[in-house]
Point group: C2
Chain length 219, copies 2
C-alpha cells in the first residue's frame, strides 16, 4: 500500500487528507489493490456498481458496446484518477459501461458503501471524502460535457478538428500526442475508422496538420 502513497495523495478523492490518516482510512475502508493485463476487464457491464476505482499505475478506458457492435469510448482515466465512482455513488444496481485496462495497470478498489455510510469505527473523515467525491463528480460532468460538445458535431472532420483543438489547448502546444490509436479515436469520436483515416489524410494534404501515428501537429 505504502508503495502507492505518492499517487494516492494526488488523487482527488483524498484531497485535504494527510498521509497518516490516509493509510488508516484505507484499512478502514477495506481498500484492495489488483493488477490487470492489457485489455483485461476490470468491471463488466451489468454487474452491480459497488466500487470506486483508483488508477495507481497504467490507465483504464470506460467504454460501451451497443446492440449493433459499435463500441463507444466514453472516457479514459490515468494514474491518480478515479473511475466508476459516478455509478457507485448513484448506487445503480447494474453498471451500464465496461471498464478495461488500457495497458498493464494497477488499480485500487474501494467499496463505495463504506464511503457513503459512516463506518462503525467512526473514523471521522467521511465528510471530507463526501466533499471530495462531490467535487470529483462535478468535474466529471464538465469533462462529459466537453466530450458531448465534440461528438455533437455532425461530420467526421468537425469532430476530429474539435478534438484536436481541444487536446492542443489542454497540453498548451500545437504539437502533442493523443492517447488513442486510430480505431480508438474513431470509437471515441463515434465515427467510422476508415472514414477517419481518410479525413486525417485529407487534412494532411490540405496542410492543416501533420501527423505520425498518435502524434499530431496543428499548423
Amino acid at each position: 500500500m505504502k508503495k502507492y502513497l505518492k499517487i494516492l495523495q494526488q488523487c482527488p478523492l483524498f484531497s485535504q487528507i494527510d498521509t497518516e490518516n490516509l493509510l488508516r482510512m484505507l484499512t478502514c475502508l477495506g481498500a484492495r489493490i489488483e493488477m490487470f493485463d492489457k485489455k483485461y476487464t476490470i468491471i463488466a457491464e451489468g454487474n452491480p456498481a459497488k466500487y470506486i476505482g483508483i488508477v495507481l499505475t497504467g490507465s483504464v478506458q470506460v467504454m460501451r458496446i451497443d446492440y449493433y457492435g459499435n463500441r463507444s469510448i466514453l472516457a479514459e482515466a490515468e494514474a491518480g484518477e478515479l473511475f466508476g465512482e459516478d455509478f457507485a455513488c448513484a448506487e445503480v444496481s447494474a453498471i451500464p459501461v465496461t471498464i478495461i485496462a488500457n495497458e498493464p495497470s494497477t488499480v485500487m478498489l474501494i467499496d463505495c458503501s463504506h464511503v457513503l455510510h459512516t463506518c462503525t469505527n467512526n473514523c471521522g473523515f467521511h465528510q471530507q471524502l463526501i466533499f471530495n467525491l462531490m467535487k470529483d463528480l462535478a468535474s466529471k460532468t464538465i469533462a462529459f460535457h466537453q466530450k458531448a460538445e465534440i461528438t455533437a458535431k455532425r461530420t467526421t472532420r468537425e469532430k476530429l478538428m474539435s478534438y484536436l483543438l481541444f487536446q492542443a489547448k489542454k497540453t498548451g502546444s500545437h504539437s502533442f500526442d493523443i492517447p488513442f490509436d486510430r480505431q480508438e479515436l474513431a470509437d471515441y469520436l463515434e465515427v467510422d475508422r476508415s472514414g477517419l483515416s481518410a479525413e486525417i489524410s485529407k487534412l494532411r494534404r490540405e496542410g492543416i496538420l501533420k501527423s505520425e501515428k498518435n502524434h499530431f501537429v496543428l499548423l
Copy 2:
C-alpha cells in the same frame, strides 16, 4: 417562499431536511426567486457559473449552440429538479451552456459558494446539503450516460427508436407524450429535423408506431 414549500421538499437538494430548518436555511443561503417568460434566458453561456437553480414551476432546457449554429438540447429540468448545479459545484469560471425557460417558469437561485463553504452562522446543514449534491451529481451523470447512449447511435432511426423505447420504459407504457416538438427532438437527438420527420413517417407506414404531435404509441 412558503408558497413553494411543497415542491422544495421534493427537491433532491433538500432531502432529509425538515420544513422548519429548510426555511431558515433558505434565508441563510440567500435564496431568491425569479420568474421567466417562455424562451427567456435564465443563465447565458459564458457567464460565471455561480448559481444552483431549482425549478419551482414550469420547466427549463439546458442547451448549447455551436459555431455552425447547430443547437443541442442537453437536458430538461421540471418542477423540483436542479439545473446548473454541476457547473456551479465545479466552480468553472464560464458556464458552457445556456439555460432557458421552456414555458413560463419560476425558479429559485442559490449562490453555490454559500452551500460549499460553511457560512458564518454555521447553520449546520452544510454536510447534508453536500451529501445531497453529491447524490444529485451522481444521478445527473447517469442521465447523461443515458443520453449519450442514444446519441452515440449512428442513424436517425436508431437514435429515435432508442429514445422512444427509453421514454416508454420510463413512463411504463407503450403510449406516452414526449416533452419536445419536432425541432427540439431533432436537437436533442442531434439530427436534421426534416430527416427526423421523414423517419417518423416511415416508421408509421411500417406499422412500428403511431404518433400525433408529441404523443407516441409503440406497436
